[in-house]
Amino acid sequence: MKVCIIGCGAIGSLFAAHLGKLDDVEVWAYDPYQAHVDAINENGLRLTGKTDLVSKINARSNAQDIPPCDFGIIAAKTLHTQSAMETVAHIFKDGAVCSVQNGVGSEEIIAEYVPRVIQGTTFPAGHITGPGVCNHDTIGVTTIGPFAAKPASQEESDRLAQALTRGGMETTSLADPRGPMWTKVIFNCASNGVGSLTRLPHGIACDQVRSVMSAVAQEGIAVAKALGITLEKNPEDMIDYGREVAYRHKPSMLQDVEAQRPTEVDSLNGGLADIGDKMGIPCPLNRAVALMIKGVEHSWTL
């Protein structure tokens, strides 16, 4: 089978390199960062840290050079979902695209461009250390399943999960993956949203502003309940667990804020508040966090 990774940043690289180990999978990667693409094609895609491997895959910065594929795995930042899908849609005329992005709202955009969609959520973490090299920071599981509004078949979802698991990225395929996905979305809204505004790493934010994190999480829990989603875990427990295992971890959105990069807040606190509005479950604190992170982004332009 042929799989194309859309957005070969840290998460995309983890998926691409692990799948690249398999003889029966042909891995392509689309990424606009030319130096990264060139390094991957010349030396292979290298993982360091928790995983040590070099994987031969085919990277391209021009999506027209990529052949039709059975699967796509989109790992682009959510604010690039629309433009990335526009660029790669032709690759998946008869394919299924799976999102492993943060937050909510990506699947709806992907569904505008491809016939079948898989939604997913992923816990591994990494960071690019140089062209062609990604450090695997955290091992974690991935959960995927058909996206109800424009579903891939269960068989397709299972096949992709099996390939990923064989490649070393433990993945579960469910009929309804929204439970794990929403658990992580709610956790991220609390950890990323509050961390970005206070500039505090996760564990220290737990010590200093836990009541705000909980209030943000509780709004999300109410929305998930209204959507009929059974959360996989209590997000409050995840916040506590994160404090134990990742005390000094800076959430990705805080890293974005510190580097003055546009954030994914529209898919996190903003996306959650939008869904809350539609469901008649107000999320004033998530809205407040989203508006203030937009304010932070605006401050960079002054």
């Binding site: 790493p201 200093q208 705000v212 407040a288 937009k294 605006h298």
Partner: protein
């Protein structure tokens, strides 16, 4: 009634220096200054205080770091930042037994701190004027805006409104602008609610008070949060039985569109809380946003926006002590 002859200004920052330079230049007034630094007192004793800008004045003063050296006074004007009130009052405890203390801090509640250190009658106040300290002995008067004073509402034991009118007259005679109110709370709370939202949201977003604070066209516009937070403040004031003199949201829109007294599109006032955050110095959030949270608790009105913004600013203050490199 006692005539005001001897005045002591505690804390000669920009606001304190403006008061010293103006009131101290009046004939018949002996101006004393309690400073923290010996060198500050020495400069003032040797050079007096010069005011430039909107006024051109020079005042001779008696300054010291020890209240014992200043003699009795009729009026103490406490002009320190809220964060320094407690330390200043520790030094004032037991001194100036016949004085009335006039407050001029941002926010609400510093009067309670003063009361812990003595039974002086207290005048509550707030100021809109501003200046820039050029040196220990020179201040530039920038914004010639008023100082509002009135009885402290939590206090049965007030200096009496006629004395407050006398302080108003003294300030006006000196060339500064003052207005006395029999009930200060309507103006105090209007400014408090305005300041609470604009300062806290500005401190968290790193935004000066720019036009987006009044934008509500798009769902993602910051004005929605500013308006909601101010509405929450208004509901708390109402529950406290306070009728506001101005609508804080209108104050906000007016400030960013008409530019306050700066004028025009370049209006981008760096609020005091934003300035503190940028300098990593502790903010006055306990007395501004925090005071509204406490007032909400008193009357049992929910205050999720104020509580959230209060805690976020406290969280930012904590971030300054996190020096260790973070994991990825």
């Amino acid at each position: 009634m006692k005539e005001i002859k001897r005045v002591c200004v505690v804390g000669a920052g920009a606001i304190g220096s403006l008061l010293v330079g103006h009131i101290g230049a009046l004939p018949g007034i002996t101006m004393t200054v309690l400073t923290r630094r010996e060198s500050h007192a020495k400069d003032l004793n040797e050079q007096g205080l010069k005011v430039s800008g909107k006024s051109n004045l020079h005042a001779n003063v008696i300054a010291s770091t020890n209240p014992e050296d200043l003699g009795d006074v009729d009026l103490v004007i406490l002009a320190t930042k809220t964060t320094a009130v407690d330390a200043s009052m520790q030094r004032l405890e037991g001194h100036f037994p016949t004085a009335t203390i006039m407050m001029i801090q941002n926010g609400l509640g510093c009067e309670n701190v003063v009361r812990r250190y003595g039974s002086w009658p207290i005048i509550a106040g707030l100021t809109f004027m501003s200046g820039v300290r050029q040196s220990d002995a020179h201040v530039e008067y920038e914004l010639d805006m008023p100082t509002w004073i009135g009885p402290w509402d939590k206090e049965a034991h007030s200096p009496g409104y006629s004395f407050i009118k006398q302080v108003e007259a003294l300030i006006n005679k000196s060339g500064l602008i003052s207005k006395a109110y029999e009930d200060l709370r309507p103006v105090q709370w209007s400014k408090l609610i305005f300041n609470s939202a604009v300062n806290a949201i500005g401190a968290v977003t790193d935004l000066p008070h720019v036009p987006c604070f009044a934008d509500t066209n798009e769902l993602s516009d910051l004005g929605h949060l500013v308006r909601n937070m101010m509405a929450e403040g208004v509901s708390i004031a109402k529950a406290q039985g306070i009728e506001l003199s101005s609508d804080p949201w209108e104050m906000n829109c007016k400030a960013v569109t008409q530019g306050g007294s700066h004028g025009g599109e370049e209006y981008a006032h760096i609020t005091s809380m934003l300035s503190d955050v940028r300098h990593k110095s502790y903010t006055e959030v306990d007395w501004i946003t925090g005071s509204i949270v406490r007032a909400a608790l008193e009357v049992g009105v929910p205050a999720p926006y104020h509580e959230t913004l209060y805690r976020l600013v406290k969280g930012i203050e904590k971030s300054w002590s996190q020096k260790q490199p973070a994991d990825h």
